[in-house]
Symmetry: C2
Subunit: 219 residues, 2 copies
DNA sequence: ATCCGGCGCACTGTCGACAGTCGTCAACCA
DNA sequence: TGGTTGACGACTGTCGACAGTGCGCCGGAT
């Protein structure tokens, strides 16, 4: 029997799979902001016990996708316009650091190449969800190329909230996540122009905040 | 009966209290990095069920204080020197944003005053743990004064790891958290000098990273 | 008509028990 | 002697059940 004939088994726990399922359910819009997420109901839907979904929900709570309401009841979170602005400013600070570290790194050339490749995936004609994924993937890649693992973690902890903000405030016609919005970042990195790169990221984030902050109701 | 004669009851859940207990046990050095945190043992010590400590442990895991080892067993986390450097660079980026926002805020004067007051609490002769608390409180206050709630949250998610880094790499003789290390930050803010303030924070963080990265063993 | 107490409902909080899995170690076989 | 196998102990993963707690409804007293 060939050693290739068997693929590795899925060793993920039910908690992990529940977490994935819940997260994508929320981020796909299956549950709207403000919706109550009852442990019993979810456990029934997913076919797992309450304790298991409970742990997944607590995880999502720390991610900021759900918040605790009255008597510990959890509901899908939404962001106020103010929070959206704040969020994107924090993100700008983190990605600004990423840019500076990429430019200070000896692997600058390779990084620029990788980014340019990722740029190609930002097609303007894909469906909205795919566009958002590609956009976030590009920015995550930027962080990863910095080689700063703590930065990557910090950015990822913001990702859930960013998706919420985008999901709720998006005006899908606008070319917010178009390729030519990101190209200047890559170009500045290729030129090695730190100040320009940081400033481009900053403007990119400011514009995004403005764009996504429009439609949001408070909780 | 006077309305003051009764204090509000403690409505915190066992999970929250377990979380507090575990966190402070780790941050006080009661458990050393690498120590195994068995659910059964902890549940016995705290007098609660396994499920309850389990949730607290998962929370600490997301905070970065504990990591999952073999077979999901949790152990107290430690940071490599590289991670310490990365951590403080991220922190510098966040606090740099805080400084910029404080300076751009209309409440700049009041903020500077509050910071100066907090400066007084940074006594050089207190015991180490209290010094660390005061130091972190000062920096947290800086973030809070920016009025950016997302920034505060992001910073707080780093706090656990920072305490780990400080706890394990601290050379308590060095005047790392002394008052005159922080005074320049407040002064720059009072002067309204953005660039100087940001640069001071940056240098402060770089020095701290250098200082705390010395003693750390890998996991 | 209004206020009050009781009652049931729908939740979450907490617990104890069972099952599965891995590391260890000793016995066993070529 | 070296490698393999089986039992054992110590964990975590998962579950179902019980208990406590607000909330809304309803009937009765004023």
């Amino acid at each position: 029997m060939s050693i290739e004939s068997l693929s590795a088994l899925d060793r993920s726990t039910l908690r992990e799979r529940s977490l994935e399922a819940l997260r994508s359910a929320i981020l796909s819009g299956r549950y709207r902001p403000g919706d109550h997420l009852g442990e019993v109901e979810l456990a029934g839907s997913l076919g797992v016990s309450r304790g298991t979904v409970r742990e997944a929900l607590r995880h999502l709570q720390q991610e900021g996708l759900v918040t605790a309401g009255n008597r510990g009841m959890l509901r899908v979170n939404s962001l106020t316009p103010t929070e959206v602005h704040e969020l994107f400013r924090v993100r700008a600070a983190l990605e600004g650091l990423a840019v500076r570290e990429v430019l200070a790194s000896p692997r600058r050339e390779a990084a620029a190449g990788t980014l340019r490749t990722a740029l190609e995936r930002l097609s303007d004609d894909a469906e909205p969800a795919a566009r958002m994924d590609a956009d976030l993937a590009f920015h995550l890649l930027l962080c990863q190329l910095s080689g700063n693992s703590m930065l990557v973690e910090a950015w990822q902890r913001l990702e859930g909230r960013m998706r919420v903000a985008i999901l709720n405030g998006a005006n899908w016609q606008a070319p917010m996540m178009a390729r030519d919005r990101h190209a200047p970042i890559v170009e500045a990195i290729e030129r090695g122009d730190v100040d320009a790169a940081v400033q481009v990221v900053d403007e990119h984030m400011t514009a995004a905040a403005e764009h996504f902050a429009e439609a949001s109701e408070s909780a």
